[in-house]
Symmetry: C2
Subunit: 615 residues, 2 copies
């Protein structure tokens, strides 16, 4: 061993002990004939003191930043104590030392606030990983991993490895594929998740399964999406939805306690998918703050049971018939921003530009300031009389001092933009605190979504999700084909809700799952609803349908996005910072320079050629 | 929840309790108006008693084998107790039941001794996994996983995930590659091991790393080789070989204690590579039994320091000059098989045929029986006088009652055949007990092997293994090029030993590792020795050489073959039985039918075409 102690453990109680440390040179400070070196390792920093004699030796071969140094000496009490350092009461009076390895000058400084840009730090990831901030993320990731495993073990779950070289069944995202040399012309696929395998394990009787496992999706990359990512993947047999919610509420609480020292005693709030969409404009609401969405006008068929607080929807609404901007709008949504009635014209203009960016694509934004004296000032004063404005203000539950922002347009786009605007305003108002954690369950998702291009259903969660038990008959006894595309919402399948659930933390879906279909007949009906004929079903999922014929138990599960969970627990939303060796936004590992070209010999052996024309 | 208890937990103490169980129907036994059903789940089997009334209901929709059944009733004491069953004192007097799912007749019986053949069980792996014997293997695998993690956690190791989509640097085995759609014409590779990443983590200061991780090798498959396999992968910084041996001796002992209840108190025996080759004919000796190899004649240059017990080697040996079969043999190896002197002609003939199989390729076999009265009977009586025979018997350390088997021929082939023969004889004599566990370290491997085709060196372990510290100068200051191919053993590199170590259990290498090169100059010299020019070094391993320039610490590690370790601990050598979803010997998943053809659209998107000519 090159050391007797780490650079993080020596204290005043060790005074007088002879120790050997090894680590990296953080700083070198010369004071006349003596030199101080801060030596760093994973565990901390310890100050080394080189006295007059050793100093001469040091000057012959002076260690620079990031040199690897081994030093032996006596633990002494410091004259100048450093209360910010765990080892700040002591220093090592060095008696002998050895430079174990040299370092050229690092391209950026190994400090919390580094001077290195993103691309440079990715290329030199092995140096970036030395920085304390990055190290804390990696340590937190391990702590979450460990806590999840310990909880699941206590609950009788078994970690069972599922294969990585599987069969390509593209459904939703694209598969990464792996040419098989031994089976020319054939390919394995990398799993997008162990979904079918964990279901097979339930059929096999392993009633509590988990895995912390890499998954792969060949998507067109967006910011902060990784082609490979990690899931905490879980499945249970002989359970109903309530059992899963209980179990994994327990897990997240255990993780919070172990990793963050936060005791969650209350039950997680639950929200239906409809309420989430209605009140927050999306299905993963950030509930650290209010500013709920007010639905002033909306297509009634989208939320058959919902009422606008304006009392009426459509042509009789106070929004209509005044020649204002809402006369023809399908959807009109408002949010009341607390304490922002004093926003200047410049500020509201800037916000208007913000919602008009191509990403959101709004045509404009209406505002109403509710002055602290109760009067109004709005961008629609010339169209709407005070009564109409009052009705809108009341509907939006705005208080004096608030600023109401109103967006209008086609339903989906307007809802998305309002939701984004809500998040943006919360960000600006400092309401998205990364030390506050708000969890909830979102439930009762629709089982299907409508795909207009193919005029058919797609599975909102995935094709293995069970409808609500009371709707199984509706699913079995109706033809999934949509005869009238314009009235797809009238099809019996449109109203089928799934036994599915998402766990949401601070506006992020951190986990999602469902009770699964376990009846062969129902599974075949589901595949048919998604446009698969018998042959395709058999080719892609024959093994699963087959397994369901041999006594499949009721089962369900959940998968947590491990990277994102770690990021949020670490107070960030940038998952890349919580992965030891991430890829960049183009899916490249810039450190390795991967992907890269391979030898012609390799291609030849794999029986494939590259279509040069496309390159 | 579909149950209040599992099928493995109810005891006499629960008598009178109302419970609900759910599981699979193992057996149905009718006795007149009552029926017994054995209900099975992961945890055990519980007997259900259907009385007269329910029996009628049962007969309307009779559950068959592997039906999924839910039953509610009262725990009662059995009249006919079954001491072989944990729940054998009780049964459930069923009050109500429900068939949760049906099963068609399974293609083989779900029993310890099943009637299903290998191929059938692989196709219906989800049913095979229900069998108790397979379940025990999967449970043992999880127990080993858990024990390894707990030990490593206690020792300060962190589980850090390394990427799966990396760069292809074929060296030794072939890489599986993954075409990149986003980077046309370029490929990722799947890791053969996280080797370079764990070394980078050491450079980054994460001085105790581990991972239980999938690795991939596109090899021509042999029996019981899997294209994807699992490693317990570990690395430490600021350590020497002795520290690694200590640490992982601790781990294997912890695993034995936790998983098998076996306390290993003694230090693991250590054996040099030379001694292993000399005494056992291979580098992973099975030390559950003796029957060491005796080197009667061998090429002196292979073991410069070793002496044959015949005293002399070569032309002056008692083996030579009698016109016998050994006159021209390069290598002559003997093993004394205890208690087999009574072997019949038929038996020795059969053994001779066994060594003449193409896999071993021996030309014949010589035997000497040492009768219990001390006389000899050999197949070479006509060539060798008694003195010569006596010398051979003494050299082979044979006792009266033993049978000496002697193989001769070219060195490598003869050594391999002798080693295999030793294992075969031990098997036949029942000396390879799967309840006995013999561990040892094999040390001091040669750093290089000679590749005659390329007339250059290859790394015996891998290109990152350090030579013994005292031989670094030899490596740095000599030209690795071999001028005289016939005298390659005289090259200074031939004698360089590695700081490498294998852990051997019952004749299997279960773990292997090395102290790594951490000096850029030495690493470049190693790559050069393996025939890589600067450009190739930079292209393949530039990131690592680069990292070594920024303060790499001394480090080393080890990787355990997790599948094999589990198999041996489970008393088997068939790793496939310890993998939930294994591939067959052709690398196929016969359950999924993978690999398989993929859509032309997928190929098009990936910019590749299949060379139809080769299919």
């Amino acid at each position: 061993m090159y050391r007797t102690n780490t650079c993080g453990e020596l204290r005043i109680i060790n005074k007088g002990t002879r120790v050997t440390l090894a680590g990296w040179v953080q700083t070198v400070r010369k004071f006349g004939a003596i030199t101080f070196v801060d030596l760093r390792d994973r565990y901390g920093i310890t100050q080394l003191l080189f006295g007059e004699e050793l100093n001469k030796q040091l000057e012959q071969d002076p260690p620079g930043r990031e040199f690897v140094l081994q030093a032996t000496g006596i633990v002494n009490e410091r004259s100048n104590k450093n209360p910010n350092l765990a080892t700040g009461d002591i220093e090592i009076s060095v008696q002998s030392f050895k430079i174990l390895n040299k370092s050229v000058l690092p391209p950026f400084s190994i400090q919390d606030d580094t001077d290195g840009g993103d691309e440079l730090r990715m290329k030199y990831r092995f140096l970036d990983l030395r920085r304390n901030t990055v190290k804390k993320n990696i340590e937190l990731r391990y702590a979450v991993n460990r806590a999840a495993r310990n909880y699941l073990h206590q609950q009788g779950f078994m970690d069972i490895e599922t294969p990585f070289l599987i069969k390509s069944t593209p459904e939703g995202a694209r598969d990464f594929v792996v040419p098989s040399r031994m089976n020319p012309g054939q390919f394995y696929a990398l799993p997008q998740s162990p979904q079918t395998f964990k279901q097979l394990l339930m059929v096999s009787g392993y009633d509590r399964y988990y895995q912390i496992v890499k998954c792969f999706r060949d998507e067109d990359l967006r910011a902060d999406r990784q082609p490979e990512f990690t899931q905490i993947d879980c499945e249970m047999a002989f359970v109903e939805q309530e059992d899963i919610l209980d179990m994994f509420e327990g897990m997240i609480k255990f993780i919070f306690k172990e990793v963050k020292g936060i005791e969650y005693t209350e039950t997680l709030p639950r929200m239906t998918w409809e309420d989430a969409m209605w009140n927050y404009g999306n299905d993963k609401p950030d509930t650290r703050f209010g500013m709920k969405v007010t639905n002033l006008n909306f297509p009634q068929q989208a939320f058959p049971g919902k009422q606008s607080p304006l009392g009426t929807v459509g042509s009789e609404s106070p929004l209509r018939g005044a020649g204002g901007p809402f006369d023809d709008a399908e959807t009109v949504l408002a949010i009341a921003i607390p304490g922002c009635s004093e926003y200047s014209r410049k500020q509201t203009d800037e916000l208007t530009e913000w919602v008009k960016r191509p990403q959101l694509g709004m045509k404009g934004m209406v505002f109403i300031k509710i002055n602290t004296d109760g009067t109004y000032k709005s961008s629609i004063d010339k169209f709407y009389n005070e009564n109409r404005i009052k009705a809108i203000v009341a509907a939006a539950r705005a208080e004096p001092g608030d600023l109401i922002l109103i967006l209008a347009g086609a339903e989906e786009r307007t809802r998305k933009a309002t939701s984004e605007l809500r998040m943006e305003m919360a960000e600006r108002l400092g309401l998205r605190k990364n030390t506050e954690f708000k969890l909830l369950w979102v439930l009762d998702f629709p089982l299907f979504e409508y795909n207009p291009e193919a005029n058919r259903w797609v599975a909102r969660h995935h094709p293995f999700t069970s409808p609500k038990p009371e709707q199984i008959d509706t699913m079995i006894h109706n033809n999934p084909v949509i005869q009238n595309a314009s009235a797809y919402l009238d099809h019996p399948y449109a109203g089928i809700k799934a036994n599915a659930y998402d766990m949401v933390l601070n506006g992020n879906e951190i986990g999602g799952g469902s009770i699964r279909i376990f009846q062969r007949e129902l599974q075949e009906k589901m595949f048919a609803a998604l446009g698969m004929d018998k042959e395709e079903q058999q080719h892609k999922f024959g093994f699963l349908l087959n397994a369901f014929g041999y006594g499949a138990p009721p089962h369900g599960g959940i998968a947590f996005g491990f990277d994102r969970l770690c990021a949020i627990l670490g107070g960030s939303e940038i998952i890349r910072d919580f992965i030891a060796f991430p890829k960049n936004n183009s899916g490249r590992d810039v450190m390795l320079d991967a992907p890269s070209v391979i030898d012609d010999k390799q291609l030849e052996e794999l029986n494939i050629t590259i279509q040069r024309k496309n390159i």
